[in-house]
């Protein structure tokens, strides 16, 4: 390292991070809570049920215990779910499978130590954010891909029906779209649909 880089935004924002801790009040729970408070996060604790997340929750830390394994948390696995860091006491396949289902980016081993929590939080938040961005990017790519496919189909139909070249077929689609003040993929979609309706 030759130059100190700017502090990552995720670390800068830790003091406004709302953390929900789903953990019993045992020694691990106390250590976890004390360290989160030292770090300066806004912490809320509940155990074992949590039917809805408090608004603004940026991170959930959850004890992977028999109590939580049997609960179906309705706020998990949705497009708006925050990242979850599991606190792992058992390494049996059942528990590990539950950890994997959470799509966790970091875990905290039990017995909980103060050291390592900050890194786990930073890794989880960063990877979660990157993952969300990738998902959105893939979604946009898929939408774009679908549009291209419809336009391609419509071009083929126009080429056959009018006996024109691919380039001319495209220009026809474009001028129709401009005339109707619509997107080219909308016009293309109508042509494909009409063609399907007629092909019986």
């Amino acid at each position: 390292m030759k130059q100190v880089a700017e502090t990552p935004a995720i670390l800068r924002d830790l003091r406004s991070l709302k953390v929900v801790v789903i953990h019993p009040q045992d020694q691990d729970g106390e250590e976890l809570l004390a360290q989160l408070r030292r770090i300066g996060c806004d912490v809320e604790v509940c155990w074992p049920r949590l039917d809805s997340l408090p608004s603004g929750t940026g991170l959930v830390v959850m004890a992977m215990r028999p109590e939580t394994l049997s609960i179906d948390f309705p706020w998990l696995g949705t497009s708006t779910s925050p990242p979850v860091i599991p606190v792992v006491t058992y390494e049996n396949p059942i528990t590990i499978e539950a950890v994997l289902r959470l799509n966790a980016f970091a875990t905290i081993p039990s017995p909980v130590r103060s050291f390592g929590l900050l890194t786990a939080i930073a890794v989880a938040l960063t990877q979660f954010k990157a993952c969300r961005m990738r998902e959105r990017y893939i979604e946009r790519l898929e939408q774009k891909q679908a549009k291209v496919r419809v336009i391609q189909q419509a071009k083929q139909i126009v080429m056959k029906a009018r006996g024109v070249s691919e380039e001319d077929a495209y220009q026809l689609l474009r001028s129709q779209a401009m005339l109707k003040r619509e997107q080219i993929e909308t016009v293309a979609g109508e042509i494909v649909k009409a063609h399907e309706t007629l092909s019986f």
């Binding site: 700017e6 670390l11 360290q35």
Partner: protein, 395 residues
């Protein structure tokens, strides 16, 4: 308070001491060792801790992290010690922490460090960044300007201090004009190169996170290329009276340091402790921030042992949080939740006698916040500081 019957034992209380007498940071560590000895002698002269004498077991870790770990284990296993005072550089503390955690021993750490740590088995009595780097940054950026040269020793603490400083410079629209890290054992010529570069680029001030033997090199190089500390000072949170004693007063004069303690503090506690120290170790022996933390932590420890009637770490940890002591710097307090210490931040400028004229001080003691990432500079550092002008002209 809980008082456990110690069975009327009069066996001495053994305390392990890990301060280096050779190696890059031995100048400051030697003063910490002597402060520890002074405090132990004071406690013993006053009848010990509930009639039990304090017995120091001093080993020399020679500034090497591995040796720190080995000697910490030796203290615990062979000397049957449960409490250790010592460590200076973060690398040495990091080496000792796993040992004290494994054996449930207790480490008292009396040196400023970079924060982002909490161990149940460590009591931190030196400053966290919000108690030294932050006041220094606020003071320097307000009083001198925000074009800054950074020079540090190549290890973790300087990087972290410079991250804090860099963020604050950028927030103010300032500029990092230079950023250099030198190995702990870099020769004088390397410092000369840096000083020449600084002279060329003419920043508003130099932020130094150099430690140990590099400090005299840096200040000497600065003077050698003809820079004026009253126009462009070196600001540091590590340069203390211990390093000034090595480099000589003339090289240090005009430069600025932030710390929770300077020898020149005029509290009754400081004057008395200083007199006893110099009577014991020599009239020419200066004190410094690390000396003071090493001194007051022994008294806090003795008080804690007195309260629980034993030197068992688990019991001590029940009373240490929240414990207060009238230290030379003023009243200090161990925080209830993070094992760090409330301290009194000061800004000082070296005068012709090699002592610090205090040119800024926090209005009250400051809680250590070892996990703060985004810093806001304290308000008092931005005010006009007439003491600064008196301690040397700002042009």
């Amino acid at each position: 308070m809980t008082r456990i019957d110690s069975g009327g034992t009069s066996a001495p209380i053994k305390i392990g001491v890990l301060y280096s007498r050779s190696g890059v940071t031995s100048a400051a560590e030697t003063t910490q060792l002597q402060a520890t000895m002074l405090a132990a002698e004071e406690i013993n002269r006053a009848g010990g801790v509930s009639g039990r004498e304090i017995e120091l077991v001093c080993l020399d870790p020679q500034c090497q992290p591995r040796r720190h770990a080995e000697l910490a284990e030796q203290l615990i296993l062979e000397h049957r010690v449960r409490i250790i005072v010592g460590c200076y550089m973060s690398s040495t503390r990091k080496a000792v922490i796993p040992i004290v955690e494994r054996h449930n021993a207790l480490l008292f750490y009396a040196t400023p460090y970079e924060g982002f740590e909490y161990s149940r088995n460590v009591i931190y009595t030196g400053a966290a960044p919000n108690q030294n780097t932050l006041p220094l940054a606020g003071f320097m950026l307000s009083q001198f300007g925000s074009r800054v040269s950074m020079i540090g020793s190549d290890y973790v603490c300087p990087y972290e201090s410079n991250r804090v400083m860099s963020d604050l410079i950028l927030e103010r629209g300032g500029e990092k004009v230079d950023e250099t890290y030198l190995p702990l054992d870099a020769p004088w010529e390397s410092y000369l190169d840096v000083a020449n570069r600084i002279k060329q680029r003419s920043p508003d001030f130099i932020f130094s996170t150099v430690v140990g033997e590099g400090i005299p090199h840096l200040y000497r190089a600065f003077a050698h290329v003809g820079l004026d500390p009253y126009r462009m000072p070196i600001a540091s949170h590590m340069t203390s009276e211990a390093e000034i004693a090595v480099m000589g007063n003339d090289l240090a004069q005009g430069h600025i340091t932030s710390a929770a303690y300077f020898q020149s503090i005029d509290t009754a506690e400081n004057l008395a402790a200083l007199a006893r120290y110099q009577a014991r170790f020599g009239a020419d022996q200066p004190t410094n921030m690390c000396w003071e933390a090493a001194y007051f932590q022994m008294h806090l420890l003795a008080d804690a042992i007195r309260r629980v009637g034993a030197e068992d770490p688990t019991l001590l940890l029940r009373v240490l949080p929240g414990l207060e002591f009238e230290a030379p710097q003023g009243r200090v307090r161990i925080d209830e939740h993070n094992n760090h210490t409330y301290l009194h931040p000061l800004i000082g400028r070296v005068n012709a006698h090699g002592r610090f004229d205090i040119i800024g001080r926090a209005p009250e003691r400051v809680k250590a916040d070892p996990y703060v990432v985004s810093h806001i500079t304290p308000e008092w550092t931005a005010h006009a500081h007439p003491e600064l002008a008196r301690a040397g002209a700002v042009r």
